[in-house]
């Protein structure tokens, strides 16, 4: 019996051992019984874990000795539940009161609930798998007060991002981009080729991004000091999470075409028109140029990443490959991204980690806009009576308006980008709540731009090679303090940083090649350019931010930064920037605590200053330039190229922000409203000099500008049923009023207003920074066929003389925003996202060419409707006999249109396969989807746009004073993609 007992004991013991390696299953739901999909389950103290499926179910094998499971889900309080005897653990997660969403702020994170900074955070799930031209597009319509306009639809096109309006006139208007603590180089790393240079951030992989934080007010941005005025965009890349070892594979494929195509005459229409209207005769040849340069664009994207880890080490290793061709011939892109992020706890007090991102891309470029080598410019301008091929099928030389088909078939126009953006850090806990961190980062970008045009395009052939590199390194050293003493919570960060970047450029070019097959400049008989240059800048900073919270109700925060920059004059090298913010969580007060439908009510306010240092590196110095621009007859020369201003300093923006956050009805309605008032003073202005001074401009601190507005963000859960159906809505709108309040150095226009800027668009005192100033077009006089305009005083005139120019509009919208509706039911998800712009004008300079009835190019079909004796009413163009036809192509409001639009930016329909339908042992989840971008657009005043098929969304990067204007800007792409995501 004893033996038996012993044997039994052994069996029981071994079965106990077996039991200890058992499987625990369960379901995770929220307070409303809605299953939580993708919630994390981790066996405490191990790397073992899983995530819940679409029904909220999980199943995890627990190793011997496991004591507890940790359940977590973004936005909910994590729970730790001890493992008992039961093999089933169901969990109800509650959205926390003390711990809410964590948002990323400058040099740290804060809880959404207690933040007093104005920060909008866009999270990863909104960002996935869209075929984008650059990461800036992720922000479009996602954050109130952030206006993002694509500069065009070709691959690598830049984007204009303005946070709460342009805070400057001549200094840069782009926000500062920071990836994992490394402020990115965002200079010019490619040639414009007729338009703006390509997007310097295009090589950041949108699928590596975990979240994007937009720092909008001074309270948030002052910690970035001299670079905070335009707002700061903090990009956090994906990190591994303890416990869940995941393999994630994603693939999508898509097709694109342009949203708009200009409606040009065909050869027969052109010949008939020219004969009748201009008495000009053209050959009988016909060729459809626009048709020949457009194609169906394709995109294929492959992503594979591994992530996970344990309490000690977490990792994320990812790679993706994108192959894309645009809707224009000759334009394609290959991009390879790799990323390794890891974090390791070395000892109890000592941690380190690194975030490494590498990219290589090869962009086979095309020119755009003001460039006769650009397919989408020259195809519209080229006479339809000029053929691309001669009788024997060889390409023709079509002269100044290039044979763009030959160019794309025979020439080289590549931009190869290599970039590595990395930071590595060590963290050490000096004592409880006090942490030191040293963080070292680099951002090295190198681009190689190569062009080679064959003999048929440019006689003898030309070639060039242009290598740019911008190497930045920085060190940021901070001390963090975070402690709660009873009712008092104190956190603070203080630090210093040093940052420097060296830009180098080497250019060679030559012409006169023996054969087209000789690709490189080495083969050019005539070298035309040999140039190598470099320029450097440095920034030295100290900063501190402290936050005090009393009883979780009252919050006070202050930030201070002192920056020294090599860019500024010897007399003004250092600047100090600061902000104070306060908040009051009313819903914590006793008198509101009993209101059951009120979850959160918070008031916040901030005031502070930020700066803008976005001018050239040596703008304060008087300079004599050198090189081939100044040599003569083989002798080296130098010449004046910049006047001095030793007093040059930062542009300073002060900003007041007042905000209210409300969460109601069990957080099913959340509203954030912020009012802001931004005043920019000491604006960095290109002080306009009369040309006889010898220089046209002098960079000075002069002038003031104001941006004021309201950012409104509303999130609602409209329907949430226990059956699993959910409908959520997000509406965000940024209302903006911009006014140039003082321009002491401006020119005087005929009406006595001070201004700075160009002939048609300018910053005008008392008006916006993007004011259109044009002669007013009235129409075609039905009785005599003359084109009629208004002179400055409002009388009818017959020419658009510059003397008749008046202020007619602004390129700045009254409001912009986004409207998103998401529907989910079981595994089905549908997202519908519109963005909109209202109240701005756009000036379409291409019409000055295509709608010039006497010009030497192909013409828009609208001109066929010209005035004749029998076509008096509603004629588009003047009579052939009218002298006004000669000035019909000159600038007037005829080319300015209402730029308001509503666009179905993105619609996505997805289906996540239930775990039981796939092999649950193998797949953790799988989702298939179809997505459409820009499928539908509604422009304001469609009748005025009649026959004028141009995209209303036009922008121009890197200039604050040239917005909302286009010149054959390639339109946005209309794209359909289908994709598959699978997790293993």
């Amino acid at each position: 019996m004893k033996k038996l007992s012993l044997a039994l004991l052994l069996v029981v013991a071994s079965s106990l051992t077996l039991l200890s390696q058992r499987t625990i299953t369960g379901k995770i739901i929220d307070e409303n019984n809605v299953p939580l999909i993708g919630a994390s389950v981790l066996v405490k103290g191990t790397a073992t874990g899983t995530v819940t499926d679409v029904d909220g179910n999980y199943s995890v094998e627990i190793p011997e000795g496991a004591t507890a499971l940790i359940f977590s889900y973004t936005g909910y309080d994590p729970q730790e539940i001890a493992i008992g005897t039961s093999n089933v653990i169901d969990v109800t997660m509650s959205s926390g009161v003390t711990l809410q969403d964590i948002i990323v702020v400058g040099y740290g994170t804060q809880s959404e609930r207690f933040k007093v900074q104005s920060v909008s955070q866009v999270d990863a799930e909104k960002l996935q798998n869209r075929p984008l031209l650059g990461p800036q597009e992720l922000l479009q319509g996602q954050a109130a007060g952030v206006q993002m306009v694509s500069n065009g639809g070709i691959l690598g096109s830049n984007a204009t991002v303005r946070i709460r309006g342009a805070a400057s006139i001549n200094a840069g208007g782009d926000p500062l981009y920071v990836v994992d603590g490394v402020p990115l180089n965002d200079g010019t790393y490619s040639s414009g080729q007729g338009g703006a240079a390509l997007n310097p951030l295009a090589d950041i992989n949108p699928n590596d991004i975990e979240s994007i934080s937009v720092l909008k007010d001074a309270g948030a941005a002052a910690i970035y000091g001299s670079r905070g005025s335009n707002g700061v965009i903090l990009i956090t890349t994906k990190k591994g999470k303890a416990g869940v070892n995941r393999v994630n594979a994603e693939f999508y494929t898509g097709w694109s075409e342009p949203t708009y195509k200009l409606d040009m005459m065909n050869a027969d229409e052109f010949r008939t028109f020219e004969k009748a209207y201009n008495n000009r005769t053209f050959p009988e040849t016909s060729f459809d140029w626009p048709g020949a340069v457009l194609q169906t664009g394709r995109v294929n994207s492959y992503t594979l990443n591994f992530s996970g880890g344990n309490d000690i080490t977490q990792y994320y290793l990812g790679g993706s490959f994108l192959r894309q061709s645009s809707y224009a011939i000759g334009n394609d892109l290959d991009r390879l991204n790799g990323r390794l992020n890891f974090k390791h706890t070395f000892s109890k007090k000592f941690r380190f980690g690194a975030n490494v991102g590498v990219t290589k891309s090869v962009n086979n470029r095309i020119g755009a806009e003001n460039n006769t080598f650009a397919p989408l410019t020259s195809a519209y301008l080229q006479l339809p009576t000029v053929a691309a091929y001669d009788a024997t099928g060889n390409f023709t030389n079509t002269g100044f308006i290039r044979n763009v088909i030959a160019i794309e078939a025979l020439s080289v126009n590549d931009l190869i980008t290599d970039r590595i953006t990395t930071n590595a850090y060590l963290q050490f806990d000096l004592m409880e709540g006090l942490t030191l961190k040293t963080d070292w980062g680099i951002d090295n970008i190198t681009t190689t731009e190569t062009s080679r045009y064959p003999n048929i395009v440019s006689t003898g052939g030309t070639g060039s090679n242009d290598i740019r590199s911008d190497d930045k390194w920085l060190t940021t050293n901070t001390i963090n303090f975070d402690q709660i003493f009873g009712n008092h919570a104190i956190s603070a960060v203080a630090g210093f940083s040093f940052e420097t970047a060296l830009f180098e450029r080497t250019e060679v070019a030559g012409s006169n090649f023996a054969a087209d097959a000789l690709r490189n400049v080495a083969s050019a008989a005539t070298p035309s350019l040999t140039r190598s240059s470099r320029t450097e800048w440095a920034l030295l900073s100290q900063f501190v931010r402290a936050n005090y919270r009393l009883k979780d109700k009252y919050i006070l925060e202050g930030a201070l930064r002192r920056d020294g920059s090599s860019r500024f004059g010897a007399n003004n090298r250092y600047g100090v920037f600061w902000a104070v913010s306060g908040g009051w969580v009313l819903s914590e007060e006793a008198f509101l605590r009993d209101i059951s439908f009120l979850n959160t009510l918070k008031l916040s306010a901030s005031y502070g200053t930020t700066g803008n240092d976005r001018i050239g590196n040596f703008q304060s110095l008087g300079l004599y330039g050198s090189g081939v621009a100044f040599d003569y007859a083989g002798l080296p020369g130098i010449g004046p190229n910049q006047p001095a201003n030793p007093d040059l300093k930062w542009e300073e923006t002060s900003q007041l922000d007042i905000g209210v956050s409300v969460e109601l009805f069990n957080r099913r309605l959340a509203v954030d409203v912020n009012y802001y008032l931004k005043n920019t003073t000491d604006m960095l202005l290109d002080f306009q000099l009369a040309d006889p001074n010898g220089f046209s401009t002098l960079t000075q601190n002069a002038g003031e500008m104001q941006n004021r507005g309201v950012d409104l963000n509303i999130e609602t859960v409209n329907i949430r049923t226990s059956g699993g159906f959910e409908w959520t809505t997000n509406l965000n709108i940024g209302f903006l009023e911009n006014e140039v309040t003082s321009l002491p150095s401006g020119s005087l226009d005929a009406q006595g207003n001070r201004f700075i800027g160009g002939a048609n668009q300018r910053a005008v005192e008392g008006y916006t920074v993007n004011t259109f100033y044009l002669p007013r077009y009235v129409g075609i006089n039905s009785s005599n066929g003359n084109a009629e305009y208004l002179d400055a005083t409002g009388n009818i005139a017959t020419s658009p003389s510059p003397n008749y120019r008046v202020i007619v509009g602004s390129a700045i919208p009254d409001f912009t925003g986004g409207f998103t509706n998401n529907f989910t039911y079981k595994g089905i998800d549908l997202g519908i996202f519109f963005n909109f712009t209202y109240g701005n004008e756009v000036y379409l300079g291409d019409f000055a060419f295509t709608e010039n009835p006497v010009g030497g190019f192909n013409k828009a079909r609208v001109l066929l409707n010209y005035w004749t004796e029998s076509n008096r009413e509603g004629a588009f163009a003047p009579a052939a006999t009218s002298a006004t036809k000669n000035t019909f192509g000159q600038a007037s409001t005829r080319f300015m249109l209402d730029g308001s639009f509503l666009r179905l930016r993105n619609v996505t329909l997805g289906y996540t396969l239930p775990a039981k339908k796939v092999n649950a042992k193998f797949f953790q989840s799988a989702r298939i989807y179809v997505m459409g971008q820009n499928l539908w657009t509604r422009r304001a005043d469609e009748d005025l746009w009649e026959g004028r098929a141009q995209d209303p969304e036009v922008g121009y990067a890197s200039s604050n004073t040239f917005q909302g204007q286009s010149f054959f800007t390639p339109p946005q792409a209309k794209t359909i993609t289908v994709g598959l995501n699978a997790s293993f």
Binding site: A538, L540, S566, Y632, P636, I638, G639, P640, G694
Partner: protein, 474 residues
């Protein structure tokens, strides 16, 4: 582990060490303004910069001369730039960007010259001798005179309209902007501008060398010959015939340096035909081929011969036509357009800019002789005949001309055919009281004194509050 803590503190110590020097970053491709006149080498380089400014397309590069020819009757402009089309169509407006570039780039060239003239005496370098200082100043004055001459010719009515008592261009003689002082320019009269040009040239004359060490510089930098030649042109435009003859003779008498070329092979050659020629290489921006050459030869094909100019030539016998033209496709689609071949380096863009050559000086003198004597001047005929002979045309004699005017007309006709496309036609017509156009657009509105025969003062400078009365009609 304790050790780690101290290593860790190192970067924090750095924050206190880190200082201003980290922010001292100097430009590497440019010199500060004082450094530009710190020694002989940089001072000389600054002088070369004054010449280099002339290579600018909007100064003595391809554009100014081409637009001038377009505005008159030598060119059939078929190019696509709207700002050039405005000139061709007589609908120029004051915001024309190309015209502003011409205006602005001349003044930036003048700034470079002013800086040399004012700073050269202050260069603290004993190796820079007094004669060298004087010569460098003289060269800068010579160039400044040329820049003002080009400006006043295009932005103001010719001297013969109201005897120069019309608005000219602002005269700026000091580089005030270097001291942070900006000027609000005011227009000087044509008389004042001519006087300033004359003063600069006469002051430069004694200090300019006869020649330099090589042909490139002898033909490409200021010399006594080039200053004399420009003075002959200045007096011709001004109507001072005696001085025209005097200064033309000063050039033509120097046979060691200046001779009428025997044929038309001298282009781009720095030969004795050339008195002053802007030297362009393929890395400069000034080459004159750009608008004058067809696309197949590397140009834009914008500016072929006008029908009016074609009609002026004996297309069979005149070597100026047979050897100096080329057939090609123009930008307007005509594949049989006739272009000048004076600037054949379209592929490498290195054609020099012909500013002053012996042929012009010869014609200046011939014209002045006829006007001075108001007769069928034998000496003028003697000057004209070598040109006719060179062109392969029969020579002429006094009996061929009914009166002085007939001879003058013949001299002006030969001047047109000799100098076509070099930027003389417009001013030659205007100063002789003739309209720029006798057919097509411009008829009746292109006489001397008419608004559109001169460029407008750029609207921008007027808007800046300068005292710059606009030319009438803009």
């Amino acid at each position: 582990m304790k050790k780690f803590k101290y290593i860790f503190l190192l970067p924090f110590l750095l924050s206190f060490i880190a200082c201003d020097e980290l922010l001292d970053v100097e430009p590497e491709q440019s010199l500060s303004t004082p450094a530009a006149f710190s020694d002989k080498n940089t001072a000389f380089a600054s002088l070369m910069g004054v010449y280099s400014a002339a290579q600018d397309a909007d100064v003595f590069g391809s554009i100014t001369a081409m637009l001038s020819e377009t505005q008159s009757d030598n060119v059939r402009f078929v190019g696509s730039f709207p700002t050039f089309q405005e000139v061709n169509n007589y609908v120029v407006i004051a915001t024309n960007g190309s015209i502003r570039s011409i205006w602005a780039d001349h003044y930036s060239a003048i700034l470079a010259a002013n800086a040399v003239i004012v700073n050269m005496p202050k260069v603290d370098d004993p190796s820079l001798t007094d004669p060298e200082r004087k010569q460098f100043i003289a060269e800068a004055k010579f160039m400044r005179a040329l820049y003002y001459f080009n400006l006043v010719t295009h932005f103001a009515q010719p001297f013969n309209v109201s005897n120069g008592n019309t608005p000219g261009v602002p005269i700026v003689l000091t580089p005030d902007i270097f001291d942070g002082k900006q000027i609000l320019p005011a227009r000087n009269s044509v008389v004042e501008v001519y006087a300033q040009i004359e003063k600069d040239l006469l002051e430069a004359l004694p200090d300019l060398p006869e020649k330099y060490s090589n042909a490139e510089q002898t033909r490409g930098r200021g010399t006594k010959g080039s200053a004399n030649g420009i003075l002959s042109r200045l007096y011709l435009y001004k109507g001072d015939w005696a001085k025209t003859i005097q200064y033309a003779d000063a050039v033509l008498s120097n046979k060691a340096l200046y001779n009428l070329a025997p044929n038309y092979a001298f282009w781009d050659g720095n030969t004795s035909e050339d008195v002053f020629v802007i030297q362009n290489s393929s890395t400069d921006q000034g080459s004159w081929d750009l608008y004058y050459q067809p696309a197949a030869l590397g140009g834009r094909g914008d500016a072929p011969f006008s029908d009016d100019l074609l009609a002026a030539f004996d297309q069979v016998n005149d070597k100026r036509f047979t050897t100096l033209t080329i057939v090609g496709a123009d930008a307007g689609g005509n594949t049989k357009a006739i272009f000048t071949n004076k600037f054949p380096n379209g592929i490498v863009n290195s054609d020099n800019g012909p500013i002053l050559r012996v042929t012009e000086v010869t014609l200046n003198k011939a014209e002045a002789l006829v006007k001075n004597t108001n007769s069928v001047n034998e000496e003028a005929i003697l000057l004209l005949n070598p040109l006719l002979g060179r062109a392969g045309l029969p020579t002429v004699k006094a009996a061929d001309f009914a009166d002085a005017n007939a001879l003058l007309e013949r001299i002006l006709l030969e001047r047109r055919k000799e100098l076509c496309f070099e930027g003389h036609r417009r001013i030659d017509l205007l100063r002789n009281g003739k309209p720029l156009r006798t057919t097509g657009v411009g008829v009746g509105i292109s006489n001397p004194g008419d608004p559109k025969v001169v460029f407008p003062i750029p609207q921008r400078d007027i808007d800046l509050g300068s005292s710059l009365p606009q030319n009438p009609g803009y």
